[in-house]
């Protein structure tokens, strides 16, 4: 498990989502990447009912195919100050959420998924996937993992250069906002960081849908 950076690739105006994905796959293939299976990250959102009292709380339950045995849950506490309580549990947590359906109800129409193909190229792991919200296309996400390193700050330059080689100017010269906001650049990278990046992107896609 190395440092992972997640980027949203904007779909050009005259192209569809699948066409964009095909273009990226062609580019990464030209660099010599080898396809190695599929990946799936899904996010289900539960919100508390009136029985809890107080303002409604939201729990995001995420699964990542890279960590098949784990379930990630992020509880958004309204605060003040607003904070997020993360939890990593095993597969039984899903059953626990079903038991708590009287308190936390699932919002089926907000279920989001990033699904696509996984590529390996030397020490990098590249995942190119489409994001869907209840089977509506939302956008394209590119995940790049540099496996030998655990500190994002140490390998950002290397990863930036690699990503710019096939994503072009989409990649900013500064590290993604997630690392700067949470000050995670010089900490040991954890699987939860990947999940939080996904959640941030999913949330921004939802806002776009609201417009």
């Amino acid at each position: 498990m190395g440092v992972t950076i997640l980027l949203s690739y904007p779909v050009p105006e005259n192209k569809t989502g699948p066409q964009t994905v095909d273009l990226l796959i062609k580019r990464i293939g030209a660099l010599g990447a080898v396809q190695s299976g599929q990946f799936l990250v899904d996010c289900e959102t539960f919100s508390s009912g009136p029985t809890m009292g107080g303002p409604p709380r939201t729990v995001h339950v995420l699964h990542n195919s890279e960590q098949p045995a784990a379930v990630f849950a992020l509880l958004e506490s309204p605060g003040p100050p607003p904070k997020t309580v993360p939890l990593v549990a095993d597969g039984l947590f899903d059953l626990l959420m079903l038991k708590m359906s009287s308190i936390y109800a699932s919002k089926k129409q907000t279920r989001m998924e990033a699904r696509g193909t996984r590529f390996e190229i030397a020490d990098f792991l590249v995942k190119i996937g489409t994001v869907t919200m209840s089977s509506n296309f939302k956008g394209v996400l590119v995940e790049v993992e540099y496996r030998p390193c655990f500190i994002a700050g140490n390998c950002w330059e290397l990863m930036r250069e690699f990503m710019q080689s096939f994503l072009g100017s989409v990649v900013q010269n500064t590290p993604p906002p997630y690392f700067q906001v949470h000050n995670r650049l010089n900490d040991v990278y954890q699987p939860l960081d990947t999940i939080q990046q996904y959640l941030d992107h999913f949330a921004s896609y939802r806002k776009v849908a609201g417009l």
Partner: protein
Amino acid sequence: MSAYSVNISVEAPVENQIQEITYDGQEIYTPPLTMSEHLTKLAQKIDFAKCGPEELNKEITEIDKNEDEAEQSTAPPLWPWDSVRNKLRNALTEVSVLADVLSIAKDKHYMVLDPVPQEPPELKPMVQVYARKKALAGAASVLLSGADRLKNLQAEALRNRTTPDFHIELLRLRQNFRLKKVSNSIVGDLSYRTAGSKFAQNGTFEVTKAEEDGDSPLSPPCSPNASLSNKPTSALRVTVPSELQGVAFIKVFFQKDQDSLTAAQLNLPSSSTANAIPDMYWQPKLEAAQNVLFCKELFNQLAKDAVQLQSPIPHIVVGNQIIASVLPGIQLVIGLCHSGVSTDGKTAVVPPSSNGHDHVLEHSLHQLLRELHHKNTHHPFPHPSSGPIGPSKRRRLAGPCAADREELMQMTQSETMLEQVIKQAQHINLRDRTLFVLDRLAKDIKDPLITSHWNALNSPTQSCVKINIVAHMYDTICRTSLLIHVNETTLKCITRDGRVIHMSYESQELRDFIMCQVYLHQMTAVQNLAKCMGWQCLANSAQLGVGAVEPFGNASSCVLASPTGERLISVRCEPKSGVHVTIAQSPRKDFFPGQLVKERKWENLGGSFKEVRWDKMEGKNFLNKMELLMASLTSS
């Protein structure tokens, strides 16, 4: 009935009443009552005295009336007590008549009772004698039979000192084996299922009481020696299934390639078949049967592994043998030897086997299966209070620790028993090879001395040897130590300067490496010696690029100068051909001014090197010779 009441059913006891107890303690029961007898018995319990005579009379008149009606109608009896009532009524009538007669006769007015004269009974003395005799004989027979029983008991108690009681033995058996009663027989289980085995074959045996055949109860007191000399007889007899009878063991040995690829049926040596007698004492018999079952399970498991394992050279399972290749040219043969009381009465033919049996591997095979059993029953602690029991602690933590795919894949991999045994076999082979090479080198090379120390503590798949290279008498000047880790198929050598060299199982590699180390040692030792002697090392090279190409390693050399600088010694070590020593001196004695070098001062340049005839040198070993050479060159 209140809420707290309890229903109690009252029933007659199931046992019959005891009618009589005879003198010898035997109890004679009354036969159970039939339905009608039971009814009459109940009828007897009716208390007729309760009804007074007036009531009775009233009743009788009523009954008479009823009877008349009943007779007229000739209807069937209305209630079950009908016949009883009739009889009672008859009896009452008779008794009333008798009472009337007695009351009349008492007054002696109308009736007088006269005694009837009776003739006296005639006495027959002989009959009395016979009757007494018969009674006495009956009493005597009762006493005799009682005495007989006591004698028998005593005799049995005497015998029991040598052969324990059936029940005591059953108790002992019960302490060691699982027994249960199925209808009239006792069935036991000798399988390892309670210990965690999942082998399908069941190991049931039957326990019966041994009949005492031809063993008269009177003989033990008169011939105690005969019973002692007998083999320990038992009141128990166990019957094990025929496939578990006999003796079995797992034979493990190594086979050189092309030795014999014929799949010969492995057989037991005939000596061990002798003790497969059918009427053994139950304990060794059951233990032998248990061992047979264990060996069968072990072989079964190994055969299953051998079929499933994917290896470059497939493992062969033929008959009662598994052949697995360990190293190129060496195969491991695991065989199941089982000599039963064969049904066809065929005696085992022993092939002249030159292969030794590897007891260490057999032991580790047994150990591996027991570990497997243990793992089946003992789950790693702590268990979660929720969630399934069984997965390892690492697997349980995989969720909360967010383990990725690779880690999860690693957790699923486990070594089968056959793989582990093959690894151990590989290690044993490689260790033996290394041992052989080192011993051979130590024997062949006398200068310097090679000593090897094997670590006493090692694991089944790794051992460690330390090698010291020293010269005799010069061990303080230079000592070269090496450490060699012997793994399954590779050797890892760590030299003193920290270099790590990996070698394969080919013993030539190790041999060459040690040879290189020996010559490297000689060069280092010479330089250390030179320092002690006050000589100066001008140049040295461990890997010399000039000269003939060596088949392995490189030649090494050094140039030494005497304290005055007038004498030079050059040493060249070649792993193939040994050591060459050449000397030069300046001013050279054979300097003659020529056309090019005319002046006398050039004689100080040093002349050509001349080789020393090393085998003619004085000295016990190389370093000794070098010391003498340096000493002589310094002084002259």
